[in-house]
Subunit: 322 residues, 2 copies
């Protein structure tokens, strides 16, 4: 596929078009992904997640600048609808982003909010693959750490950075959302604000709780560091980058890199499987039959679960449809 060849050779225009082609899930998307896939597996995928208002986009921006100063290329995928990278920036954010604009060693892509049913996770994973195959050494995936789908997307990274900020209210938020369990590096951003030390302490206690309860944390050798940053002026960002790099080395030397890869592939395969199974089912049964089923469910003659079961068994037993 010529588009793939040009994109992987470093043509940015081809890269953008390739990503759109794959994102739009058109007839050529599968062929493009097939061509891209053998070239994947080299990038360090880093998920950066946190609630709106923690300043994680600024941190992403600063991290990218630090990697660039070391000649390391960076792809950024913004799944967070509040991220300046995804187009929702105030003027100040836009100006900050210009630090990265025009640098051929950086590629930024935002994900449109997608229909449910696993669409967002799948599209994000595919864009990460393209950036990986195109040779970006680090791929940062920024997600808002509040939704189930977005947490799952972050979880698919090799290294997960959880960003907190003081004064956003409930400290246990991250814990409750299941975020702390998946975080490899913890960052208290906006650390020049009152309450930063308390936030760090709350995180430390929460992490300590896990350490005291090894059943909950299987990768017991890595102690997630808790770092303080003021991303706006760059304070502490180098330490976050070091922690991310240390985590990569840790994964690679312990064999956990391959284990995380396997977990990601498994989740992705199941997601694609169920989407494709649904697509197949809908094609087979046709809109009319589906419509009739919906009317019966609306009339309470049938519940959705029974409807699904009987549809599946009809299809599987090749009885044909009435």
């Amino acid at each position: 596929m010529e588009l793939v060849t040009r994109a992987l050779a470093g043509n940015r225009y081809a890269l953008a078009r390739l990503i759109s082609l794959i994102e739009n899930d058109g007839p050529d998307a599968h062929a493009a992904l097939q061509a891209v896939y053998p070239h994947t597996g080299r990038a360090h995928i880093v998920g950066i997640t946190g609630a709106p208002g923690t300043g994680k986009s600024t941190l992403v921006n600063e991290l990218a600048k630090h990697w660039r100063s070391r000649q390391i290329t960076v792809g950024i995928v913004a799944v967070d609808p509040t991220s300046p990278f995804s187009g929702g920036a105030l003027l100040g954010d836009r100006v900050r982003m210009h630090d990265l604009a025009g640098d051929p060693g950086v590629f930024i892509r935002s994900m449109a909010t997608r229909g449910s049913l696993g669409g967002l996770a799948r599209a994000t994973g595919d864009v990460v693959k393209v950036l990986d195959a195109a040779g970006f050494a680090v791929v940062l995936v920024e997600t808002v750490g509040a939704g189930q789908a977005e947490v799952d997307i972050a979880r698919a990274a090799h290294t997960v950075v959880l960003v907190e900020a003081p004064g956003l209210g409930d400290e246990v938020q991250a814990l409750k959302a299941g975020l702390l369990e998946i975080a490899d590096v913890l960052v208290v951003n906006k650390a020049d604000r009152p309450g930063a030390a308390q936030t760090a302490l709350a995180l430390e206690m929460a992490v300590g709780r896990y350490a005291a309860n090894p059943g909950e944390r299987t990768e017991g050798l890595w102690q997630p560091p808790i770092l303080q940053t003021v991303a706006l002026n760059g304070t502490g960002v180098a330490e976050v980058l070091e922690a991310i790099e240390r985590h990569r080395l840790y994964l690679q030397t312990t064999g956990l890199w391959a284990e995380r890869e396997r977990a990601r592939v498994r989740a992705e395969l199941l997601n694609v499987l169920q989407q494709e199974a649904l697509r197949h089912i809908l094609t087979r049964i046709g809109e009319q039959h589906l419509h009739r089923l919906i009317e019966r469910i609306v009339a309470r003659e049938l519940d959705p679960c029974s409807a699904a079961y009987s549809l599946l068994s009809e299809l599987l037993h090749e009885r044909g449809l009435k």
Copy 2:
């Protein structure tokens, strides 16, 4: 099913057990849902969504109190991991919640964060069904308006209330997340704080944009009201309740009630279908075969999409598995 009979007759203990049974998706869950389903369809399902820190839990609490003062029963389903209803409360929140505790006309249930692949949406829909069948006249579904899955859950309600607050940063957040398009009632909570008027104005302009562009809003007769509240002291809450009730009447008199019902049933059926299809596929292929496929994908011999396609075609053509 005796448990269903007792739960629907008003036994709270049976109701809690029934919900757990359905949530845990065990062998009896399907039978229980079948028994529950014919009794559904009476409740007014109200989605309440907004970013963390907007005070939507306090608003939910106050709305519930207002309905109760009119002898209307209220079920609350907290999908938001930051909600006090779901167990993440600071002391103050817990105390506030005691307003509702012990009132037999209120039932509160929080949803655990679930594995992905549509599990959370399905479980939430099922709990809403149980509360509907048990006779709660209003079912409030509180979600954090930042994640794709959570937005989809809110979208499934008859009436969607979007809660904003001044000073949380980027005003267009809700717009970007696709929330404004689905909101029927807009609330600026914490309206005693600086910036409330600007937040309301920003919402008004955003909503006006939609009105000027009728293609984007098909249900053009309803103008989402923009209301200001201080939920902490109850200011403006009665007006929100009135707006929600007016929206219900609007849906019922225009026939849109049935249309929303149909859209919800459709989304639910597709979600259940794809989950059950996946479950069936996994049972058929077995863990070993799945494991071998994953290893081939990890080794880059095969991409996930091609793996899914070939698995599906193997299953559908009954060729048996190697």
